[in-house]
Symmetry: C2
Subunit: 438 residues, 2 copies
């Protein structure tokens, strides 16, 4: 029979596409563990999981996503129907589209989470890959203060679920406070404010001198720069007095609420937190690792208004954040918070002779029926060889039997971790295996 | 502060990209339930989960994937580094690449599963979407007979986990048996055999007359056609005698093993199962829904040799199948096997006054700490309004309190399903809530 045979003349690479990762079983076990904990904590706050397609209309991103992403980092293509579609670089536009589609049906407040994979064309480096996964948590509707208090509490609780709550700090700011400070207090023009925001956003990555030079370029005078520097180290009580505005009041109330929610000590006011120039309009925040060797923003988010407007739907304010899997994994590794994982294989039922296969299969079925993960050798083999195979496959227990055991209706159950072994009737093997594994 | 504001002049559509689906919380709850059961059963057979990137080198598919998919159905693009990359249309090439990369490290037999989303450009129709998810299960290495017996047993057990084992039939064939029958028994040329295989593959979709016409076109004589028709209704015992070959022997042994594994009654020999012209080289199979209204192949797979060859690695034979989520969902719906899902929200803790928020937060934290999913209203409100909100949000229980309860250190716990309610001390609320929910 003819076979399609288009074997390439040069061997293909076994490497995954640049900036992406393969997940072998142990990587996947870690990922499932990490995502499982994230999902469990999000659900404990009543957030429900959603999902969307991997490809979306290009226009969805052109409308609201930051220009850098759309122009330089988007993977896109033209389909056979001449539609311009993109591989999703972020989840919020999909969320906005889905909420807009059912804006009159979804009961408010709308609490949602998802853990999608996202794509951005960028030079791979620590913590930045072309494909990564990101926990997205959003709440739409509700009183903004209560919603933000809940979301920031959840952010801390997510880290607590990994044992990392004491190693992070939530830095909070407000866009309207910054507006008031730049335009009213400093008297900057809108264009100057725009440049200053950009510079502050990149402040962590450059020297003090470079930052100062940027300010000068933006036309910020020496006295304004001093005021700015002083502002950067103010606490919220001072700010409420010196820059009285809606944003400052909002933050002060928010901090009081966060104390009630038991996370007050993890949250601080930080006016250098800007979160770029994208769709945030109110409270913005970043979660920092407090360890000296990893001191950087791990994830962040903020309040957005009217993301639904691009769909011609009513304005609905929301607040959300996105937490990348690579940053979280780095955090867990840095702090030794990743556990050792046990093998997922509980038992191997060996097979010494072909004619014993029916018996072996019955034992295997029985063990699976009590919830155990059971493998077989997929070939007949000697006692020694199959024991080696069980070890290589990381089975915790092995069921072994030969002619003698078969005559007695018995098996040898061996604990591969301790070396302990016991000859028991086939009827007892499930109970004993479960006992050893518990 | 300047904001990027590129609001489109025309409202964007809230529809997902054609041929894809949005997963709202209830859809996602179903999907998580379905995938959770699939993963649990695969794990019970010792299969370990893996994952790979969503985009792969185009060459990976050009080498082995069927021509129809590569030429007509692949989503691909050229990246900024001039690499031709494709959105994965199937998972097996990724599996082959990953196994090839660690061919000397992975302990054999290698048992793997994954539930990736896959993309094909096709006209959306029942059971065929542009994006779908697919359980992929593969075992590489091991004695082919034992490996196939295990994999087919797993296929039946997957359906049994949904209560559907009695409603399916596994139809099995062997490529080498068909080779022997076409070339030796019928005496067809290789080119003729190729045409006949294509026709048999499409047999289900055309009339008897059309099929006959295709055979005539392929140069199949009347006597050969009669022989073919007779062959199509033969059982394996007859075939072993009339077309003695490696493939027939293999199938006879395989059926005996499947009896030992307790799934003999679900498996039949069916020489019309061809599985296209792609990489299968030995046993091939399809799982059919036996209900008259849905009688069609739900999923299938087969044995492949040397998928690792394209990477310049040693030949390693494997057997696997892919089960699409849409077909499975159709099957479950057809047979009424989808359960009603309970709400994921256990409790809503209401808030009558701002000054009681600290108390409400403490109760909320306590309830979450015993594993419950708890929401708050995110605003203060009257007893009646918040009770309505709790119902709309599908909470099972509500914690209510006013001035009287606060003075007593008590709350009113209400069961929203039964209407039952009880006034208890805040210290007792966790125990009572758990009791009602269990």
């Amino acid at each position: 029979m003819a076979q399609t045979n288009r074997q390439p003349s040069v061997a293909l690479s076994t490497e995954p596409y640049k900036g992406t990762r393969d997940f072998y079983p142990k990587d996947m076990q870690f990922r499932n563990w990490m995502f499982g904990k994230l999902a469990k904590t999000a659900r404990s706050f009543g957030y429900l999981e959603y999902g969307g397609p991997m490809l979306e209309s290009f226009d969805l991103y052109a409308a609201k996503t930051g220009e850098e992403i759309v122009n330089q980092q988007l993977y896109w293509l033209i389909d056979k129907g001449d539609r311009k579609i993109a591989v999703r670089p972020e989840m919020t536009p999909t969320l906005a589209r889905m909420v807009a589609a059912k804006i009159n049906e979804l009961p408010r407040p709308i609490r949602l989470f998802s853990i999608p994979n996202l794509w951005r064309y960028e030079r791979p480096q620590r913590g930045r890959l072309r494909e990564h996964w990101q926990l997205n948590v959003d709440v739409l509707g509700g009183d903004p203060l209560y919603a933000e208090a809940e979301l920031l509490t959840l952010a801390v609780e997510l880290m607590r679920s990994f044992g990392g709550a004491e190693r992070i700090q939530v830095k909070v700011n407000h866009r309207k406070l910054m507006d008031a400070f730049f335009t009213k207090t400093l008297g900057l023009s809108s264009a100057q404010a725009h440049q200053v925001v950009k510079a502050i956003d990149a402040k962590d990555k450059v020297s003090e001198d470079k930052f100062k030079a940027w300010m000068t370029e933006a036309g910020v005078r020496e006295d304004q720069f001093e005021q700015l520097t002083r502002f950067f180290s103010s606490d919220i009580a001072t700010v409420v007095k010196e820059v009285p505005c809606e944003g400052a009041d909002h933050l002060q109330k928010l901090f009081a609420m966060l104390k009630e929610s038991g996370v007050g000590s993890q949250v601080v006011f930080d006016p250098t937190v800007m979160r770029g120039l994208d769709y945030y309009t109110g409270t913005v925040f970043e979660i920092y690792d407090t360890s000296p060797e990893n001191n950087r923003a791990m994830f962040g988010g903020g309040r957005y208004d009217n993301l639904m407007g691009i769909f011609g739907k009513e304005a609905l304010s929301g607040v959300g954040f996105g937490m990348g899997d690579v940053s979280l994994q780095n955090f867990l590794d840095t702090h030794g918070l990743t556990p050792k994982f046990a093998s997922e294989i509980d038992v191997m039922v060996t097979l010494p002779k072909e004619e014993y296969r029916a018996t072996a299969e019955t034992i295997t079925r029985d063990l699976r029926s009590v919830g155990l993960n059971v493998i077989t050798p997929l070939a007949i083999g000697s006692f020694g060889n199959q024991l080696k195979l069980a070890t290589r496959q990381e089975a915790k227990l092995a069921v072994l039997f030969g002619d003698d055991e078969m005559k007695l209706g018995a098996v040898l159950l061996k604990n591969l971790a301790t070396g302990e072994q016991v000859t028991i009737s086939t009827a007892e093997v499930c109970a004993k295996a479960r006992q050893w594994l518990s």
